[in-house]
């Protein structure tokens, strides 16, 4: 190879045109089509699932569905399961949010990356990978079987605790990461005017990180609302309406367990109720999800 001093030896205009037959171009077109195909396949399940839930579930909608309880008999509805899902999800949020936010505050504000903090972060990541059914098994043995909560076995609160175990790692992580986004200058400014650490966190850092934390927490609530495995032997199921405050200590119906029970049942009416419950649950979860996304974007912009 010689280094041509200048290109003035060339007389012709260079050929820069795209050559279809060139191997690299054939390969590129092939790969691009393949990636497009994969992307199409990846979006297909959502479309298919949503379409069926909308058609099969939406077609079932009527007022009685919401006013009747989940007897599973002709004329039965899903009203009590809707309330049950709200109760169990709220109970889990009441447990997981304070504990998780507190843990996240420790990691982001106090730990300074020591060995203990590394251990907690590692534990949080591992915990996030614990299968949901294991959380159910654990709560069954520790709480349901022992009747540790005022002598009650299966109960809404046991279900709430099981769900909170699954929410906890997400809440810790979002709090930790949200607080890390707050610039250190802000903390120094607060500490610099003589605020205590507690006041700095409560009045300055936490409010600044509110949106990312809220987004993550809302998403984790949406995820918990759809969980089934931890509930099937903790909250169990019930064909009755929740009965005031006592319902916290009694077995309770939830949409997700209702879907599981009725989907696998041989009675067509119960199958249909499962579709209707799916419609309500999916709608609920998608709305929360889109709300959380909007919240996140609202903060970013």
């Amino acid at each position: 190879m010689t280094l041509s001093t200048t290109a003035d030896l060339r007389n012709n205009v260079p050929d820069l045109s795209y050559k279809r037959g060139l191997w690299r171009n054939v390969f590129n077109r092939l790969m691009t089509s393949l990636a497009a195909l994969f992307a199409a396949i990846a979006t297909l399940p959502l479309v298919a699932v949503l379409a069926y839930v909308l058609i099969k579930g939406g077609g079932m909608l009527n007022l009685r569905l919401f006013t009747a309880r989940s007897t599973g008999l002709e004329g039965g509805g899903i009203g009590n399961a809707i309330i049950g899902t709200v109760i169990v999800t709220l109970l889990s949020a009441l447990i997981a949010i304070p504990v998780g936010v507190g843990g996240g505050i420790f990691l982001a504000e106090y730990s300074r990356g020591g060995a203990f903090a590394r251990f907690i972060r590692f534990g949080t990541n591992v915990m996030a990978g614990v299968p949901s059914i294991i959380a159910g098994v654990f709560v069954y043995i520790v709480i349901v079987q022992t009747r540790i909560i005022f002598g009650n076995s299966h109960s809404a609160i046991a279900g709430g605790i099981a769900l909170s175990i699954l929410m906890l790692p997400t809440v810790i992580k979002t709090t930790d990461e949200g607080l890390k986004l707050v610039p250190d200058d802000l903390r120094r400014a607060a500490l610099g005017v003589g605020a205590s650490r507690f006041v700095t966190i409560l009045r300055i850092t936490l409010p600044s990180a509110f949106t990312p934390i809220a987004t993550g927490v809302v998403l984790s609530i949406a995820r918990a609302a759809g969980e089934t495995a931890p509930l099937i032997f903790t909250a169990l199921f019930s064909p009755f309406w929740p009965n005031g405050i006592d319902s916290v200590f009694e077995p309770i119906a939830t949409l997700s367990v209702l879907i599981y029970n009725f989907a696998t049942s041989p009675y067509p009416y119960q199958n249909e109720l499962a579709w209707a419950a799916s419609f309500v649950l999916v709608l609920f979860i998608l709305i929360i999800n889109l709300f959380a996304r909007w919240l996140g974007r609202f903060a970013a912009g």
């Binding site: 390969f27 590129n28 691009t32 990636a35 497009a36 994969f38 992307a39 396949i41 990846a42 979006t43 399940p45 959502l46 479309v47 298919a48 699932v49 069926y52 099969k56 304070p98 504990v99 507190g102 843990g103 505050i105 420790f106 990691l107 106090y110 730990s111 251990f119 534990g123 949080t124 990541n125 591992v126 915990m127 996030a128 990978g129 299968p131 949901s132 059914i133 294991i134 159910g136 098994v137 654990f138 520790v142 175990i165 906890l168 205590s196 650490r197 507690f198 759809g226 495995a229 997700s256 599981y260 989907a263 696998t264 499962a274 799916s278 649950l281 999916v282 979860i285 998608l286 999800n289």
Partner: protein, 327 residues
């Protein structure tokens, strides 16, 4: 007093100290401050304590069965509550084979999708929409996917599975007649469930590759896919590998959709078209009504599942650290 009197001249300002009541911190404030710190430490410890408690409880519960069957529990496949004999091979095999096969299908799909939505092949708006759809798919509850799998997907794929059986039936993997629920439909529903994880993490990893590396590749005259294979994917590999391992962990622990479609059979078969079981499906089905030594055997199986998912998750974290390229 003089110490707080500032400057001299026209800016001279006298601050009457008595207005600053809190110049000296009251003991309550110190207590609150210290108390909050302790509270934060305690709350942070909860997650670690819980994790250990789960491990201990599950291990404790499985001791009886471990003592009785030892390692043979893992390799024998008779699960007979009537005769009180337990071996979890069918479920362990089912867990591994469903999750690994699902991974095999979902990795190319997910990484391909991630590439498609991070490259400027089509307008940004459509790409964002695809990304959003894949993320929303992750939000669909497992139990709803299970319902869909039973009533929509399984009837839909049955002809294909029958075709597999008639043409490739001589292979042990397709040796049985598909009869509805089975390992193959469970694999497909797992693909649907882990696809969003792989896609989202791969997309984030690809997006994090600095623009300057992409420019470097194009600058020496690579084609789009030359840049993807030689620069983008190698630079993003640690994140992608971590995401794949997380997805594997999720697939192994996934319960509801699999329980609803796998057939819950404890009879072992090599065939992917036959009904099977996974550890989590077995737990979901039997744990609520089990008693005696069945509980302990289920706990033993749960312990195996814990160890498998823990190993995969720890490996995922290690991979992310180990493989990250310096750039």
């Amino acid at each position: 007093m003089d110490r707080y009197v500032s400057l001299v001249g026209p800016n001279r300002m006298v601050r009457p100290l008595e207005l600053y009541r809190l110049r000296r911190r009251p003991p309550t404030e110190k207590t609150v401050d210290a108390g909050f710190r302790v509270l934060a430490v305690v709350l942070a410890s909860v997650v670690a304590v819980l994790l250990l408690a789960i491990l201990i409880v599950v291990f404790w519960g499985s001791l009886q069965s471990m003592g009785r069957y030892g390692w043979s529990f893992l390799v024998t496949s008779n699960w007979n509550p009537v005769k009180d004999e337990y071996g979890a091979f069918t479920a362990i095999y089912g867990t591994l084979v469903t999750s690994l096969l699902a991974l095999l299908i979902a990795v190319p799909l997910g990484v391909g999708t991630a590439i498609f939505i991070t490259e400027n092949i089509i307008p940004l708006k459509i790409r964002s929409l695809i990304g959003l759809m894949v993320e929303l798919l992750a939000a669909i509850p497992s139990v709803v996917l299970g319902l869909w799998a039973i009533f929509v997907m399984e009837p839909f794929i049955k002809p294909f599975l029958e075709f597999l059986h008639t043409t490739l039936g001589w292979l042990p993997l397709f040796s049985t007649n598909p009869m509805g629920p089975g390992i193959a439909p469970a694999v497909l529903i797992l693909v649907v469930m882990i696809l969003p994880i792989i896609t989202a993490i791969s997309r984030d990893s690809l997006n994090q590759v600095p623009l300057k590396l992409r420019q470097a590749a194009y600058g020496v005259g690579t084609t789009r896919w030359g840049a993807i294979f030689n620069v983008m994917l190698p630079a993003a590999i640690s994140g992608i590998a971590g995401g794949v391992m997380l997805a594997l962990g999720r697939a192994m622990g996934e319960t509801m959709a699999v329980t609803m479609i796998i057939g819950n059979s404890n009879t072992f078969s090599w065939s992917l078209l036959a009904p099977g079981n996974t550890i989590s499906a077995m737990l979901a089905n039997q744990f609520g009504e089990a008693d005696g030594s069945q509980v302990s055997s289920l706990m033993y199986a749960a312990f195996v599942l814990m160890i498998l998912t823990l190993a995969v998750n720890v490996l995922a974290q290690w991979l992310v650290k180990r493989l990250s390229l310096k750039y």
